[in-house]
């Protein structure tokens, strides 16, 4: 029985179809990440799963419950950081944790939780005076007070410095080792690559790709490429004298390596061309390349026009 199951989920705001029939499921203990450009529908999706918004259509189950109608029971078993977490102005992080402990009827050790999210130094500062990153860390701490089985994190590291980001990553890794299910949205592809067992790329309310990062890279990526910097017209030479698939812009030429032989052909041809060259690298499409390919510039400008 998966922790989260979504089938044909839809949600519209008036004319706008924010979530357009998406389906996926997240296994218990899995870290699942939703990626997508601004306005793709990530927050809408995650808030429906948290029971904070009502769905427009389809079915959703979290821990075997309908999140909207069984919200009160579900909330005792899930942890949530909303996007752009804000809290009351005056409680300190320590007070906030104690308060949540009472609300959930859980014994919590505020110091332990504060240490866990590296917030000990700000334990007694009023929330309104915390820095952006410290606020976010308190959100993280509060989402864990009730010892949740499923944790929903909507852009938990946005606005954090690299150190703090890594600290949050550590917390998320620990959640996984403790067997909790994590659903994470992020704009940082490396974050998804680092943490997620599987990712789904969302655009315009639809899932355009889903799987492990390797699966997505090999399915939607262009495989290995050789990139060469050259001063002369290497691109022209290669196009005229070889059967290689090449593309280029500026002084850089990209040769698609369809198989291993292509690499030898390419190297030979470059040498024969007599063109001055340097900086040769071989790389594969990263998740970021695939992401940009799938939700390209065109998709974005269309979105802005809408």
């Amino acid at each position: 029985m998966p922790a989260i199951e979504v089938e044909g989920l839809k949600k519209n705001y008036g004319e706008l179809q924010a979530v357009d029939g998406i389906s996926f499921s997240v296994e218990k203990g899995e870290v699942f990440s939703l990626l997508g450009p601004n306005g793709a529908g990530k927050t809408t999706t995650i808030e429906i799963l948290e029971g904070l918004r009502q769905k427009g259509g389809g079915t959703t189950t979290v821990l075997d419950m309908d999140p909207w109608s069984k919200g009160y029971d579900l909330h005792k078993r899930i942890g949530v950081i909303p996007q752009g977490f804000k809290f009351l102005d005056y409680p300190t992080p320590r007070e906030a944790i104690v308060y949540y402990g009472v609300l959930f009827g859980k014994k919590v050790d505020p110091d332990e939780l504060l240490r866990r999210v590296i917030l000990e130094d700000a334990a007694n500062i009023w929330f309104q005076h915390l820095s952006g990153g410290q606020k976010q860390k308190l959100g993280m701490a509060l989402s864990l007070v009730n010892d949740p089985e499923v944790v929903f994190l909507d852009e938990p590291t946005t606005g954090l410095d690299p150190q703090a980001r890594r600290a949050v990553w550590e917390v998320i890794r620990k959640l996984k080792t403790e067997g909790r299910t994590v659903m994470l949205t992020t704009h940082y592809l490396e974050e998804a690559e680092e943490l997620a067992d599987r990712v789904a790329i969302m655009d315009h309310g639809k899932i355009v790709a889903m799987g492990t990062t390797e699966e997505i890279e090999s399915k939607y990526g262009s495989g290995q490429r050789m990139i060469v910097k050259s001063k002369g017209d290497l691109l022209k030479y290669l196009k005229e004298n070889t059967k290689l698939e090449v593309e280029g812009e500026g002084g850089s030429v990209t040769i698609i390596l369809r198989d291993k032989a292509d690499a030898f052909v390419a190297l030979g041809a470059i040498q024969e061309s007599g063109v001055d060259w340097g900086d040769l690298t071989i790389r594969r499409d990263s998740l970021e390349d695939v992401f940009l390919k799938l939700v390209g510039e065109e998709g974005r400008s269309e979105k802005e026009g809408a």
């Binding site: 949530v80 804000k86 009351l88 005056y90 308060y99 609300l103 009827g105």
Partner: protein, 365 residues
Amino acid sequence: MGFSGRRMLAELGVYARGNLRSKEGFFFTLVFPIILILLFGAIFSGGSSGPTTVYIQNLDNGPISSAFMGALNSTTAIKLVPVPTNQNFTQYLSSHSSTDGIVIPQGFSSTYIANQKVNVTAYGNPTSTSSAIVFGITSEIVNAFNLRGASGAHSVGVSMHTAVSSNYKYIDFLVPGLVGFSALTSPMFALVNISSTYRRDKVFKLLSLTPLTKTEWLTSKIIWYIGTTTISFILMSIVGIYAFGAHITFNLGIAMFLIVGPFFFVSLGMLVGTISNSPESAAVVGNLVTFPMMFLSGTFFPVAAMPMYLQGIAHVLPLFYMIDGLTNVMIYGNFGPAYFDVGLLLVISAVTFALAVRFFRWRED
């Protein structure tokens, strides 16, 4: 989804701390009530300090009663004003806006000389400072007379009577009026504001993710504002009594109104904040509801002093019933009408509370 006192108290603790830590919260809870009463008290009370005026009716005419009056006159704390013997004394008192007076009975001198028991009657309002002075001085002089008496027997007694006059000073109305004003404004403004800022900052969403219920949340706010209203009441009473000589009868009836008033206005504030969907419209609706009550319910002026058509309006404003009830118990000690006021307020509060909890959404559709 039962009601948990622990959760409610945790929420109350967080809210109370927030209010005490915020400058505005502190100001409106502790400083503002004092400013209000000082301001309005000073503007409208033509303060007359000095000796307490005591009306005295001497029905006797013998030598002892004259001596008695002479003794009373020699104290500087009171100023004796004789009342003609043909007047009904209590009516005379009330028509002169006073509660303080002494009546020396007919045959006082002869009875005293015959060494038989005789009483003078002291009228006063037991809770007012001036009456305490009258009772005190009368008893003292009576004691002195008894010691001087031939036999040393306690032949003169004092019988005390409570007099409540129907004419009161402005300050007497001001205290319940301003307590009502506080009970209205603090929770209304706070809750209308909270309902929009919490929604904007998604604090309601956060709360909905915890086991805290809307009823617990709203109850904690009611308790907090019962607290602040009680503090306002205490501060205003102290200032009213000591700075302006207000006459206040302290009794449990007051507590009913200090409870039911905030109960109603917290619920109303939440309902207003809930049914208007933007912060701007919430503020507008909030003011539309608050301002008429602020001025027409007897806050600054007794409703009875207003033109008839405004009195008609006052009678549909809930704050009127709180101030009316408070005035009844604080000044007149008149519980019958106060029970009606409190009963009416309880009913509309319960309905408003239920509606607020029902319509107040902390998730979105």
